[in-house]
Symmetry: C2
Subunit: 155 residues, 2 copies
Amino acid sequence: MILSTNEPPPCLPRAERLRSALEQAGWRCTRQRAAVFDYLCAVESHPTAEDVYQAVRRRLPKISLATVYKALEALVDSQLAEKLTSGNGPARFDCHHQAHYHFRCVDSDEVRDLPVAYDPQLIDKLDPQLISHLRQQGFHVTGYRLEVLGHLQKT
Amino acid sequence: MILSTNEPPPCLPRAERLRSALEQAGWRCTRQRAAVFDYLCAVESHPTAEDVYQAVRRRLPKISLATVYKALEALVDSQLAEKLTSGNGPARFDCHHQAHYHFRCVDSDEVRDLPVAYDPQLIDKLDPQLISHLRQQGFHVTGYRLEVLGHLQKT
DNA sequence: ATCGATGCAAAGCGTTTGCAGGGGT
DNA sequence: ACCCCTGCAAACGCTTTGCATCGAT
C-alpha cells in the first residue's frame, strides 16, 4: 500500500524478515530464495515466474526455473508474497504484505498496486447482511479481492 | 444478478438472442454453439470447459473438446458469456450478461454469483479522485472486478 | 458454392514432479 | 550427519492449432 503512512515500521531488516518467516513456516533460508525475494521487493511491477528467473539469473547464473517456482511457492506459503492469478497468462507475484488493491491492464496483463487505502469493511458496505446471509447457505467468507481493469499506455 | 428485479426483461427468446449476438460479432450460429450456450444458461454454477464438454456430450455425442473451447470463445467474444480466470485451475464460464460479483471457494475454486446489486460507482466511493489520478499516470480505467473469497461447505 | 466450423490429433505454454547430487542446519 | 534443497529433464494439465472434412448460409 503505497500511500499508507500509519503502518508499523518494518521491525526487522529484509534479510531477517525473510529468514524468520521462512523458518516459521518450515522452509530453509537459501541463497536462491533470498535472491528471488530481493528481486520481488525491488521491483514496482508484479513479475511472472519467468521474469523473476531472467532477473535472478544475473546474480545466480546456475539457478533453474524450477527452483524459482519452488522459491515462489515457499515465499507465498510463508506469507512473504502473494500469487496473482486473475489474468489469462502466467501468474504474477507480489511481495507487498499489506492487503491492497490492484490495477490490471486488460491488454498486457500487467499489474500495478493502487494508491488507495484497503477497506476491510467493503463487503459489509455493499450489503451489511451479505456475509451472514452467505454463511447460512454454507459459504464462510474469509476475504475479498478487488481489481481495477483498464488500459495501460505503453511508454 | 439473482435479486435484481428492475432489469429490462429479455426482449428476445434465448435462441434468437444467441443467433443475433453471434452474427453481429461475425460468428455463425451452429448446433454446437447453441448446445454450449443452453448448458451455460441452465446451470447455477460456473462450469469449466471440461464440465461443459461432459454435459454437452450427452446431447451431441460427437462434439469434441476443441469445439467446446471454440464455442466458448465465440460466446465470450459475442458478449454472451464471460471467462473467469481468477483461480488456479481451469477457467470457468458465466453466461449472465449483467455485471455482478462472484464468490469463489478457495478450496475447490468453485464460483457462485452473489445476490448483491452491482455498484458501478464503487471505485469512486473508494477514492473519488482515483480514476482521474490514474488517468494522469497513463492508466485508463474501464471497469473493475470483485470476488469474495471463502470456504464453501461440501454438501 | 463458398467459406467458416467441426473433429481429431498434435503441439503449445505455464507449471509441477522425480530423482540424483549438493548445501544449509 | 541429516535431511531439505537444487538443477535437470521429463511429465503434467489446460488450452490452442493444423488440417482434412463437414455443414450453414
